[in-house]
Symmetry: C2
């Protein structure tokens, strides 16, 4: 297909397609004469992935380039491709001016990771983000909420297991990466909404009328 | 204590304390002469709650006023107080121009709520938010991720059960409300970080080397 049809099929404006070509996010088409090239389904597929990485994942152009290079390299494992992708996803930063709170949170997170045998990089952006949230809870005097982190980790592990099995079942590497990004970003939003709905439900059941006292969750 | 000490103890600037007094977010102190009043621990406690509702929960001033009125009303159940509070928490809005996707998502969410016997308001902001995310997944062609919503709902229900039992175990209504807001908002951030760390862990285990094929999650 020509550029005009590629644009129509993919829903990406011609100027944007040309920009992706210049930036190396899209492989060149097959040149048919000095001013024209022919594109095929691989271009449509790649454009779809690039849009998902940029629009849903909010990855930078240079990270998208790295992810695509990992996909196109025959000897990069799926785990490593997903690693490059996840590394590029923005994480919520938390500024915690309180050193004591940060030290407390760091120790708590380190031991959580050790106890679970989670061998991730203790200094990665996402671990830093976890430390930041825990430190904020400490600063606010809500270590009670922080003490529930083990239960949250149980839930997160169960969800992650489903997440990874879901993407691993897809055939093409591009599908795996696209689904991982969409599933991670929008999955957070799904979980947040469902948690609130479920909280209202549980609250109605346990606290709706002045009944017997509610037993606290068993300590983890 | 005098205003200056109330400000020091609570960490809230004097001008802000006076603003809260004018807005009715803080009950007046006991007047000792024409220009001075005496404050006590109830003021310190209330200021702490107001800060959490405004800073962490991002509630509007008028919603904070409603939440405080619910707390101060003897015949409002804890469930209703939490309802007013949760109703005021901002939710992520999603604009979905595609009517077909929205109808599809609406039907999916309605049947999810019905199957679980979740009797929440099908038109509430948080349900709308869930519909928006599902519709976005449909528009992006990721109904595979949307099909995992049942598993996410299982996880959300388990977490919500712990959340509500945790706050219900607290003695003062103000503690319940403050902890509910902090736990809901920062709990989302905890979950999101933990999910990413767990994904990397599971991915390393299942996809790190070219091993046997990975079995997909059982269909829900």
């Amino acid at each position: 297909m020509r550029m005009a049809e590629l644009s129509r099929t993919s829903g990406v404006p011609v100027a944007t397609v040309k920009y992706y070509l210049r930036e190396g996010l899209l492989h060149p088409g097959e040149r048919t004469n000095r001013n024209q090239a022919r594109y095929d389904d691989t271009h449509v597929r790649r454009l779809r992935l690039v849009r998902a990485l940029l629009d849903v994942g909010k990855l930078s152009i240079s990270t998208v380039r790295e992810v695509l290079a990992a996909i196109d390299s025959a000897d990069t494992s799926l785990h490593d491709i997903l690693g490059v992708t996840q590394h590029g996803l923005p994480v919520a930063g938390t500024e915690v001016p309180d050193d004591e709170a940060r030290d407390w949170a760091r120790e708590r997170v380190d031991s959580l990771l050790d106890e679970r045998g989670w061998h991730c990089d203790h200094d990665s952006a996402v671990t830093e983000s976890l430390v930041g949230v825990m430190a904020t809870l400490h600063t606010l005097g809500h270590t009670g909420v922080a003490s529930m982190v083990d239960r949250y980790a149980d839930a997160a592990q169960r969800i992650a297991e489903d997440d990874v099995r879901h993407v691993a079942g897809l055939a093409a590497k591009e599908d795996v990466v696209e689904t991982a990004v969409v599933g991670t970003v929008l999955g957070d939003a799904l979980l947040a909404s469902l948690r609130r709905i479920a909280q209202a439900e549980v609250s109605g059941r346990l606290l709706g009328s002045a009944g017997e006292p509610v037993s606290p969750p068993e300590s983890a």
